[in-house]
């Protein structure tokens, strides 16, 4: 798994590449923690290159969402979620908790 961060004026684009499982999720969590510590609560996650994400990854997304939404200071939104990952997110009820976009521009422009 590789994680990339690009900071825009009103939001941050987090690009995840590869597989997120119990082994790699902590690294993803660190990226979010760092953003939250720096007061960046508006986050677009580009999921287009996520090959796999287990519940360990879902957990990281959920805790980031909780932190971002607190005091209405921000939000985590998901962009370009691949079908297999989306199916699993749906099973977990995460599609109700994360706004999704099917293109990055709309996601960045949302903030």
């Amino acid at each position: 798994m590789e994680v990339n961060v690009k900071e825009y004026k009103h939001c941050v684009l987090v690009t995840i590449q590869g597989r997120v499982d119990s082994a790699t999720a902590p690294k993803l969590n660190e990226v979010f923690e760092d953003l939250l510590n720096r007061g960046r609560f508006k986050i677009v996650v580009d999921m287009s290159n996520v090959e796999y994400m287990s519940s360990a990854g879902f957990r990281v997304l959920l805790s980031a969402q909780r932190a971002c939404r607190r005091y209405h200071r921000g939000e985590v939104v998901l962009a370009l979620v691949p079908p297999r990952v989306l199916e699993a997110l749906e099973l977990a009820g995460f599609t109700k908790i994360f706004r999704r976009f099917d293109n990055l521009l709309d996601a960045i422009g949302y903030f």
Binding site: R19, S54, L62, R66, A92, G93
Partner: protein, 146 residues
């Protein structure tokens, strides 16, 4: 070769560590492909196995070293994945509360999705604890061809 036609059994063992999850998913994924499952079903089987192994490593071995032995059986109708550990800890699966996947964000628990997802992704999940170690059996039947 008729895809999914051959009956097979595969068995391998891995150290109970998160960094082997990738290999384990590849192993069961290749078996599921060989059995002729759809890409969607292959992903589901990989994910269920990953969730099961993650639980064994986290909750059964709890940092102690040990192995997970994985056996895959394809009988032409269903794929059976049997996970065997020699871990000290076990649990009562029936007592684990189902997560409320419809709860709003504020009411969502942090974890508790692994077993739920396993059950959703597979047709059958069976847990057999024992003092010598625990067995988890995951089964998925072949979807009908369209």
């Amino acid at each position: 070769m008729s895809v999914g036609g051959d009956i097979f059994s595969l068995q391998r063992s891995w150290p109970a560590r998160f960094d082997f999850l990738d290999e384990i998913r590849t192993f069961v994924g290749q078996a599921a492909e060989r059995a002729g499952f759809s890409e969607q079903a292959v992903y589901a089987i990989q994910m269920a196995t990953d969730e099961a192994c993650s639980n064994v490593i986290e909750h059964a071995y709890r940092g102690e070293s040990g192995n997970i032995e994985i056996r895959v059986d394809w009988d032409g109708l269903q794929l059976t994945i049997t996970l065997q550990d020699t871990a000290r800890y076990s649990f009562d699966m029936k007592k684990i509360a189902q997560p409320d996947v419809n709860a709003p964000l504020s009411k969502r628990k942090a974890g508790g999705l692994g077993i739920y997802l396993m059950k959703k992704l597979m047709d059958e999940v069976q847990y057999l604890p024992s003092p010598q170690g625990n067995t988890l059996i995951l089964r998925k039947r072949k979807e009908k061809a369209v």
